[in-house]
Amino acid sequence: MKAGLVAAVFMHLISEKKVIYAVLILTALFFALLLALPNLTTFEHHSGMPGT
């Protein structure tokens, strides 16, 4: 909530150019991938996949 207000109001994201939204959406996708990949390897590790 606070993070959203800071981003929307203080960083003016509530009314910005489309190119900035595009940059941020791309960043969010890569960030989600960054978080997901190591954790997927964790689940694979605990599930006893070969090679772990």
Binding site: I20, F30, L37
Partner: protein, 292 residues
Amino acid sequence: MSLRAGARVARTLALHHSEWAAPSPPGHGNFLTEPVVYREPYEYSVPGKTKDYSPQFQAEAEMSETVIPYMVKPHPVTGLPNGKLGIWLFLASEVMLFGALFSSYVLIRIGAPHWPPEGGLSSEVLNVPLGPQHRGADHQLHHHGPRLGLLQDGKPSPVQDVDGRDRVSGARLPGGEVLRVLGQVPPRPLPQARQLYAIYFLLTGLHGLHIVGGIIVNTFLLTWGSRMWKTDPEHFTNRVENAGLYWHFVDLVWIFLFPPSISSEVRMDAAGHEDVGKHMGPYYACSWRCSA
């Protein structure tokens, strides 16, 4: 004009001649403002010039390689001054930098043997005031432990039991309350002790460096840098906006960094002993690779 969709191409992409500076359709007097012409038209492939063409309306200083274009006026393609687009791209790269460290932190926290605690995240878990208290106890344990006869690896010395009592006389020794957690004492919370500590201190240290950098930039804009307000106020305003974007990003980082790294939970088991296995935060969570 695009052959497919009919969209207009930005006018300033090929402004070789002054007439192209006129809007389309042209208004009264053709030009929005009085055009300034610096050279003859058709200056293509001029010897000694770095560019193939020299637009009529650009001053020689603006043609210099040292001048970054569109630092004040919006770029016709992006609609933003280059400085603002640059700071956003920088912030996007910062998200990935902190994201990589945060991802590692999350990975190790997930692998901790006692994380997440029962019930998941709750206000009880994010019990921030208990964090400093617990760190104080941890400090006492490590600082005074050797003086009290404790071994560095956290095990009780031969003269004390786990409750901090003298094994012979049974008398309570100083710091006995702290010593109750003895058999489960973690290693010293230094970066070299565990991967989790390393990432924790790297995250908070990197955040601290960003704060220092922001303070330097803001101080510059408030003092020497503010002279630009008299000579080029629009450019100065853009600088302040860019510095503000960076400063608020640092704030955002702390919003996400603070809860998982500082918060701590202290639970007591049925016997009234501190259940250190249920602690969250960097002092007790441990990777499954960590056998401590």
